[in-house]
Homo-oligomer: 408 residues x 2
Amino acid sequence: MLVHEAFSTRPADRLSCDNRRMIPAPLQNDTFLRACLGQSTNYTPVWLMRQAGRYLPEYRATRARAGSFMGLATHADYATEVTLQPLERYPLDAAILFSDILTVPDAMGLGLSFQEGEGPRFAQAVRDEAAVARLAVPDMHKLRYVFDAVASIRKALAGRVPLIGFSGSPWTLACYMVEGAGSSDYRHVKTLLYARPDLMHRVLTVNAGAVAQYLNAQIDAGAQAVMVFDSWGGVLADGAFQTFSLAYTAHVLAQLKRTGADGRVVPRIVFTKGGGPWLEAMRELPCDVLGLDWTMPLARASAIISQAHTQGAVCVFGQNDAETPAARVRPVALQGNLDPSVLFAPPQAVRAQARAVLDSFGPPQAQGQPAIGHIFNLGHGIHQLTPPEHVAHLVDEVHRYSAALRGR
Amino acid sequence: MLVHEAFSTRPADRLSCDNRRMIPAPLQNDTFLRACLGQSTNYTPVWLMRQAGRYLPEYRATRARAGSFMGLATHADYATEVTLQPLERYPLDAAILFSDILTVPDAMGLGLSFQEGEGPRFAQAVRDEAAVARLAVPDMHKLRYVFDAVASIRKALAGRVPLIGFSGSPWTLACYMVEGAGSSDYRHVKTLLYARPDLMHRVLTVNAGAVAQYLNAQIDAGAQAVMVFDSWGGVLADGAFQTFSLAYTAHVLAQLKRTGADGRVVPRIVFTKGGGPWLEAMRELPCDVLGLDWTMPLARASAIISQAHTQGAVCVFGQNDAETPAARVRPVALQGNLDPSVLFAPPQAVRAQARAVLDSFGPPQAQGQPAIGHIFNLGHGIHQLTPPEHVAHLVDEVHRYSAALRGR
């Protein structure tokens, strides 16, 4: 499956980039991109959230040289090195940019830092009217290190597999910005939401504008698919989710470029952890792929997104959306959803659970059904204590068994 | 709505109990019990998970006298005092036994303790074959302090509202027993589940037997409804939930007494936090009420449990279950589901969100629909920083607005 490409990357004009005149190598494996668009594939492609991470000794070695997590993320060479590490071990079908979900609020001037063993923290939490008023879409120049990393990784990949760019969703970024750190109860952000919805909407409007610019710049720099991580959408109540998370994710998607510099479609993936109860609403999102966590029965999810869209339903997300090309996009694939804890079990159990996920998705493109693509993934990032050899068994079983299901 | 009762409590014969010859006062408010059974009510009854808790200054004062959390739970006088405290402040429609979810594994000899600010901890985690082999259903005498508390609370309630007894589900207890404490990733219990499902099934079998005996003894002591908290069912993957949580909850329910010593039906409530994706499976449980967290759209949940049961469907939980009276029970009511974070917002926002939950459930007993009862609750326990006066607004609005919806 060799797909030839002939294009030069064109980062946003105002961004200087060493790789801007690079001619990318032809893409050797487009299985992931095809599955994202609901096209037939010879097997089920697989990549894993946090596939470049602490469970790999080579990652830990690079991180030690870089000095810190943000040392990795802010230097294109390091980010490139760790992004490619899992591909050296496993025949994964996509790479994902190594970066952090909080780069955008950091560029807004909130002062991101990482305390060892404590997770991310902002120097300034956004909790009152004055702090909200100060928020603005940051100058994308402040995020140039991310776009440089994208260009560098594309070059280093040399067409082996596509590169996924990503961002946190407006709501998920807001959770960190208002809480000032991770949270177990989201007390501050929910208090703001229920007590001052006007302020919450302003935060989310700024975030949506920033995330759209950020993802478009990643696409310009060479990202071949983009993913919106709505990691904390699932903590919201029914009703609040649609108003404060889904609507702003839709605003982002409506502003995204549909194609990269090469003219090839850039698939969009939206993943809301805990979003199962809202799949009927999420299927109206102008994206190609919906990510699932491990609680959602795959066959039911597939049936839900197979149902024909009612005409004009996308209008719920803004009256102008229907006129943009983005609004004509609809989810045609699912991404998920093995529980990453399965990877602690012995190899034979890992393989059995991988088969169970593939079986639960059902046979590829059953007759009389719309074709729904499937990308195999975890329902959450790989745990740092995962034995790396178990990941090899997982990737092998997904490829082997899914090809067998297709009778190849 | 005065409902007269004339019965004496009969705790299990082998348990001596000071209150065994007590003649309970007539029940003055049976709105909660009626709603549990899908019967019509003049308004929507409300109680709140963790309604007796740290957000109340009078609770903190009693706890200071008792010396510790378990000091409260293990002394009937203290347990009675704190159980009744929220009823003095708010016209709640039910009381719930003040106790801990981990009393049963503590009685199994695992050594429960509470470190200040750290939550519960077991001296001995159950992680290997030997530890699993040692597990057994504990002698219920070791839990007599719980049944004494139930009898004491019934006496003190003097028929004001019904008393709910409770237990953790077999799976939720297993999480704590295997992890040895609370967990953010459930690594140990999921590793056991996937690596040694045989051991996991043995743990759950013991737990199911213990929970059934425990709840039946609470019913004997005077509990007028029982609730199974499957607090951690929602961390399981689809498939694993049905096998390792739902099936064992069903085993518990199949063993429960259907009526109390007074001959009145004892409704069963099952609450799986994060269980929304599995409501179609949960509606086959032999219980009366399904609890919901705040992510689940109430109208859809109501539609799901309204659908007629397919004949024999309960057999999935064990071939003999269909022959027991319990197996003919089916869910006819929903309990939930305000996000407890709403209580941090100002009173007018609290009232608006309460109305939104009642509106989303829909009008009571719409024509042509089976009657589905509604019990208003939170989707999780009250946060300790909740302002007590906000709870008063919530309870008042639920009563006022739900009565208005009925045109009364």
